[in-house]
């Protein structure tokens, strides 16, 4: 999916919501445990209920890997289900990979060729040749960690170098030598609302993947105030607040309602910023 198509989807659905599929066997409704593939059964129901209100899904690999072969199978089935039934959904493999060149090339092939997802989250620590192998696929995206939403983000990401540049700013600036806003997005945590001003100074047009709305505690209005561009430029993720909103047999319907609530807030923001 290219940038223009993503923006068209956002305008058509009046939403820039990404639903995070952090599907934990210990947290899904009990009645699903008797299914042959409980993780996939959960994801399928959540997707069917939330798809009208979101433009992206983000399965988090950790939650699948922990189940070994069964988890990997559920992950593949989820991706395939999305591709066949909701081809307009942007699929993000939240994997935070990154390794030396030939290894990153293997990861890139796994996610972009074998699984055919749209985007992978990548960690920047190892630098250019750990990221560029992900940039060799048409209309596929690297979502590079810049400023994350967790407490530990302060340990290294905010370190100021001798020229006064913070590490996350250096990541934003340096990585633009490798690809532009048609292939690269950045992870920027919503817990740091005013930081979006600083981000936009270095990356004015890039899409930002924003975790941290809901369970992690960011404000949607603040994110839009400081982070929204004339092509929206935001994909805001919510995982637990939507997918675990209810644990009864009605879990999917309730998740749909929660997604709709967020979509309505997003619609208001898109209108306020004159994008729809």
């Amino acid at each position: 999916m290219n940038k223009q198509e993503l923006f068209e989807n956002i305008k058509r659905k009046k939403s820039f919501l990404c639903v995070g599929l952090d599907t934990d066997i210990k947290k899904i409704p009990e009645h699903l445990l008797k299914e042959e593939d409980p993780l996939f059964a959960f994801n399928k129901a959540i997707i069917d209920a939330t798809a009208p209100y979101c433009i992206a899904y983000k399965p988090n690999l950790a939650f699948y890997e922990i189940m070994g072969v069964k988890g990997w199978t559920a992950f593949e089935k989820t991706v395939n289900y999305l591709k066949w039934n909701y081809p307009d959904q942007f699929i993000i493999a939240d994997a935070k990979r990154g390794d030396i060149g030939n290894t990153s090339a293997m990861y890139a092939r796994t996610f972009f060729y074998e699984l055919d997802v749209d985007a992978v989250t990548v960690a920047p620590y190892m630098g250019e040749d750990s990221v560029t192998p992900f940039l060799t696929y048409d209309e596929k995206w690297v979502i590079l960690l810049a400023l994350t939403s967790n407490k530990g983000s302060h340990d290294f990401q905010l370190t100021t170098d001798a020229e006064g540049e913070r590490l996350f700013e250096k990541v934003l600036r340096k990585s633009q030598e490798w690809a532009d806003d048609r292939q690269m997005m950045y992870v920027v945590g919503a817990t740091q609302g005013r930081m979006f001003e600083d981000i936009r100074r270095v990356a004015p047009d890039h899409f930002l993947l924003v975790p941290g709305i809901g369970a992690q505690g960011g404000s949607l209005e603040e994110v839009c105030q400081y982070g929204m561009t004339d092509q929206c430029g935001l994909i805001v993720n919510s995982s637990r607040a939507i997918i675990y909103a209810d644990k009864s047999e009605q879990f999917a319907a309730v998740a749909g309602q929660e997604a709709q609530k967020v979509q309505q807030q997003m619609e208001a923001q898109l209108q306020a910023h004159h994008l729809i």
Copy 2:
């Protein structure tokens, strides 16, 4: 495995070699492709031939994930084969994981509880709470990326902050607030021989996992000169130079010979440093 046991194994085997199981379906001998599980068949043969000469194995997850469910199965079988047949081998899952706390906790459980490997490589960019979930398991190790062997390591790892500290040094220093040398090791690339002096100034006693001998071009003698401690303190990895030394039906025997050659060089170094 604890630090003392690891050092005892090194003295007993006169080796601090780690064999990297970067098992690529496109590079293994052709005759193995007719096996039911070619990746595992390759690993099993390589392990049997090289085990006398090494103290650790490092499967690189990228090479297994690319095969999907089949790859994950081969990875699990490899770990189990090692655990049953060579319980004195230190098993490193080279996964370079690292995410917000609850996600890192899932990865930690996957590798340390479900798979029961000894160590996982972890990326430091997200800071303390992305690393500490891996530190809650007894006699299990975090191997944190510090100074990697690839060209891109210059992009961010060598950035000097306002106090004159380089990012990799900050990673070494800061992470010692989270765990000491009984639970933490560091990845330090061998292509940067003299850098071991700087590393040892900040982390005098930690074990270092050193990739970059062989295909990536580092010098074993230089690494030992600047990096060896009175408990060895080095695990030196070689992947391609050993496992792909030969592609005939004799591949395993040749890999064993290559591993033995490296072991003999290591024995000489251990003697020169009066550790055996």
